[in-house]
Symmetry: C2
Subunit: 357 residues, 2 copies
């Protein structure tokens, strides 16, 4: 049975990318060796990582003066690394959910932190302090988590702020056109829209670095990795290779503009189905809805039907739609590689279920 | 043509492991999904990581009171993380080569560091300060890099010291029997004898932790990952899966004792060939020779023949025997998965070359 993978992450990759990855595990770039056992300093992998870096710049339209690096350790390590490199005395954090809150926590080890939070409302809306001019003038940067996988909210534009802007785009990079020039730092784990778990991308404005006085651990200093083209130590070879294959596929599809259009359409049909349903309802404020992670629950009077719907979904090959425990109900993650047909299968299951109950 | 992969790392993995990895990329544990796109919290991967942890404990005979965790970021990140967790005021470092020296450098950001170095002799011997009772009594730990990939020296026993012992075993874990109880912390990148690049293993004595006063960043606190069974954030799923396959293969072969025997034999025949050669000579003191990374050069009077030997080797499928630029000449890395037949092919090439010149 065909599987429809709505996993929140690590998440679906395109079939062509997966097949290519399996093939490179057996024989990489005609070397007769596995991608898993070649030196990262060999000419084949040096070409792979350079191509990945350049293609990321091309697809995201990264301006001059910015560097793209690939690291290990996950976005969670960036929660500490970003302030270590950028925070002199004080930073502002938008606390829009679980991951944003974790990011702010690590920054507090480095300096003073002001937060703008929707936690009291269980994060059903996205705080936008720039709209009321509330971001203090004296902060070194404002940190935003552009998409919140757990609660299903998303900031779908790049705000204008008077300070440096730092964005954790782990779960929505490559899903909409981003004005990179508005940011000094964008980072993210790659395991949603790019690659399997194990690689973190960082896009950083070169002249944003070097302004803090503290001595930086070598591995946590972005300049280390910029100077060595992400080869200071052994990089996560396999996920970087897969990231390149995904980005090549994106280019074939027409780039980020085309992906955004597809994503809007997938999200629209699913939210429409939820909004017109007798049994289901969305959990977040409509204006802040994520087009990546669609969170919904059974209406209170039908709560006891939840398990039955999981069973029906499973019987149709629908995988990983259980909501995060902080929200409950369902979460359908619609990352780039999820085909619209999978969303249609889910909608059909919802409609059939509603007809039955 | 069959390839003989002598890469210093990322390095050769067994063919059965590579085939299994390629198959899991296409369909993981009968899920109908790729290993690259499943949730790390699903029951299949939860079982994989638990099995990997347990098998590592079993194969290395890890005593009670120790924890095994899997992290991202590479051993280079451990150079900073280890002192952050263990260094109160002062630590001793054996500076036995490139990586050891980098480890000591990061520790200096955290506290006072005393080093015992063979750098003045281009690291051709392994400093053993415990033999002359030179390790100060008041250090928090002694750090050793048990095998030096660049210079080809190795400490092939576990020293008795009066302080905590920390070992970077990136390039010789699973190659000889280790008395884990002598160490408070053992760590290493997995890309030599375990898995592809992207996962770092840490074996730590639980009661060695919690003695420093500094606030620890969440991701750099070993206790975070112990408490969450290496699932605090998304772990590097794919390399952990491959590590498990490698360890299963080790178990089938008879465990570490059997691997050690095979490694000693491979190293013996190659060093014998070097020592009895008219053209080649080893670069390090015989008593400190690594059984993993065999470094040798052309004798001075034959230096101009180096390129010819590379060409002959390449023509026989011998891959990655170029020495590190700090040493020059040749380096044959004999990691666990390299079959003895590959060493024999290299020796045959050396003999044929010698007959010709």
């Amino acid at each position: 049975m065909k599987k429809h993978n709505f996993s929140a992450g690590p998440s679906i990759l395109d079939e062509s990318v997966i097949k290519d990855a399996a093939s490179a595990v057996l024989n990489y770039a005609g070397t007769g060796l596995s991608l898993l056992e070649v030196s990262h300093r060999g000419k084949e992998f040096t070409a792979t990582i350079e191509e990945a870096r350049n293609l990321m710049k091309e697809l995201l339209d990264v301006p001059e003066g910015y560097e793209v690096i690939f690291l290990g350790g996950g976005a969670s390590l960036q929660f500490y690394q970003a302030p270590l490199n950028l925070l002199k005395t004080k930073a502002a954090y938008v606390d829009s959910g679980t991951w944003a809150s974790k990011a702010a926590k690590e920054a507090k080890l480095v300096g003073e932190v002001v937060t703008f939070s929707s936690k009291a409302d269980n994060y059903v809306w996205y705080p936008k302090p720039w709209e009321k001019n509330e971001v203090p003038d004296d902060v070194d940067y404002l940190h935003i988590t552009t998409n919140n996988t757990v609660y299903g909210t998303e900031l779908r534009y790049d705000p204008d702020v008077k300070t440096r802007l730092v964005g954790d785009m782990s779960s929505d990079i490559f899903t909409r056109e981003v004005d990179v020039a508005k940011y000094d730092l964008i980072y993210g784990g790659a395991q949603k829209n790019i690659a399997p778990a194990g690689v973190t991308f960082v896009i950083v404005r070169r002249d944003a670095l070097g302004h803090v006085d503290r001595p930086l651990p070598t591995m946590l200093d972005y300049r280390t990795h910029i100077e060595k083209d992400s080869m200071f130590n052994t990089p996560p070879v396999f996920p970087i290779y897969v990231a390149l294959q995904t980005m090549k596929w994106y280019k074939e599809l027409g780039g980020v503009k085309a992906l955004e259009k597809m994503n809007l359409e997938k999200a629209r049909i699913l939210y429409d189905a939820i909004d017109s349903s007798r049994l289901f309802r969305g959990t977040v404020n409509p204006e802040d809805r994520s087009i990546m992670n669609v969170c919904f629950v059974m209406k209170d009077e039908y709560k006891e039907l939840e398990k039955d719907f999981f069973d029906l979904a499973t019987s149709r090959g629908i995988s990983s739609i259980k909501g995060h425990r902080s929200v409950g109900g369902f979460r359908a993650s619609l990352y780039n590689a999820l085909p619209k047909t999978s969303v249609e299968v889910l909608i059909e299951a919802m409609k059939d279920f509603e007809r039955k109950h």
